[in-house]
Symmetry: C2
Subunit: 226 residues, 2 copies
């Protein structure tokens, strides 16, 4: 996909302020989505907003979320009339604490993606299997190579929702401190504290068979995140 390909901005995805931080570039959106695995999924229940943390996966221009067939959003989407349950799915990575000379200009460096759309239930065992595999591999690339795939009973107990990437924007704040001109003379320390997600040494399960080595898909992942 060429770097010029982008999502079409809409009234919902054009911010009212700080427009220079917004982007509709597909490569940027995909990169932000693929670095994470936890999203905050919003939907409306009885007229009020609900925001729940949940895992997600991506296959091309479709995101998948899943849950128990008994969970509220999954039931709501399953019962929803066409075109599905309106959702807003947001992913955010924090890159730094921006400490300015004035309280007003304190900020964080971050990269976020906001997806507006409708969640529809994924139907059919093959499609559902592809979706749950995508969820597992989104937590850790190639993880399905080192784990047992879902059986019929597990697939039946798992509700999967699909959300197409159409109305999407990224937002990025990077760089240093922006203070008021007259504040640069103040005797305060100002700068950025870098923030990142750190991964520790894998802790083996107590019942692991002796001699079971940490597989390459895990050591490869950790090498890219160290």
């Amino acid at each position: 996909m060429s770097s010029s390909a982008g999502y079409t901005p809409t009234d919902r995805t054009v911010p009212t302020r700080a427009r220079e931080r917004a982007s509709y570039d597909k490569e940027l959106v995909h990169a932000i989505l693929d670095e994470g695995y936890l999203c905050h999924l919003g939907f409306v229940r009885d007229g009020a907003p609900v925001v729940l943390p949940t895992l997600y996966g991506r296959v091309g221009e479709t995101l998948y979320v899943h849950g128990s067939t008994g969970s509220r959003p999954l039931r709501a989407a399953g019962q929803a009339e066409d075109p599905g349950l309106p959702v807003c799915l947001t992913v955010t990575h924090v890159d730094g604490l921006v400490l300015a000379r004035s309280g007003f200009h304190h900020s964080i460096n971050y990269r976020s993606v906001v997806v507006h759309g409708t969640a529809r239930p994924v139907i059919g065992d093959d499609a559902r299997r592809e979706a749950v595999d995508a969820l597992v591999n989104h937590v850790l690339p190639d993880r399905t190579e080192g784990a047992r795939g879902a059986n019929a009973k597990e697939l039946a107990a798992t509700a999967v929702l699909a959300i197409d990437l159409n109305e999407v924007s990224a937002k990025v704040r990077s760089g240093g401190v922006n203070d008021e001109p007259e504040d640069y003379e103040l005797p305060y320390w100002a700068g950025v504290i870098p923030v990142r997600t750190a991964y520790g040494t894998p802790q083996p399960d107590d019942r692991l068979a002796p001699g079971t080595e940490v597989p390459a898909h895990i050591t490869d992942f950790l090498a890219t995140r160290s």
Copy 2:
């Protein structure tokens, strides 16, 4: 506050499943909220959910979020009739990737807080100044000691919303892998990869006056997060 003090569960804060992971303990809720500074704030616009990442602060049983007076949620709350704008504010910390022998039992270790409530505009300069100071000090404890406080112009440009902690729950998943009994014989590696938020060396602003040392409130913070 005693550790027995808790929020009263409601239909919205009792999960339909995995109820053993839910807690209404105020100390736990406060600890999860105080470890973070980024929340995902959900509200309803034109009948559809919107979830935006934003900073928050806490003073006792009140959370504060802020933004430009021109931003959409702040305007909506400012125009809302009593009792305010319905919101759902969610904070999540990821503690580990739980890699099971089966794809189905993959999970993450996490601690989250979900707050249901109504956001009301904070009125009055003193109350607004306390709120914006709380926001700055939530990013980094005691940070307002090392930065210029908000002036009248900045306060006027900042909309602040307050959300009371009434309808609140925490959810925690910790520990190791839970596999199906028959899967423990499989030749797959299983275990937990610890995840944490890591803070790097403070990067001073290019225009910092020579000899300006990194202040104690920053070195103290980094010492608690290393």
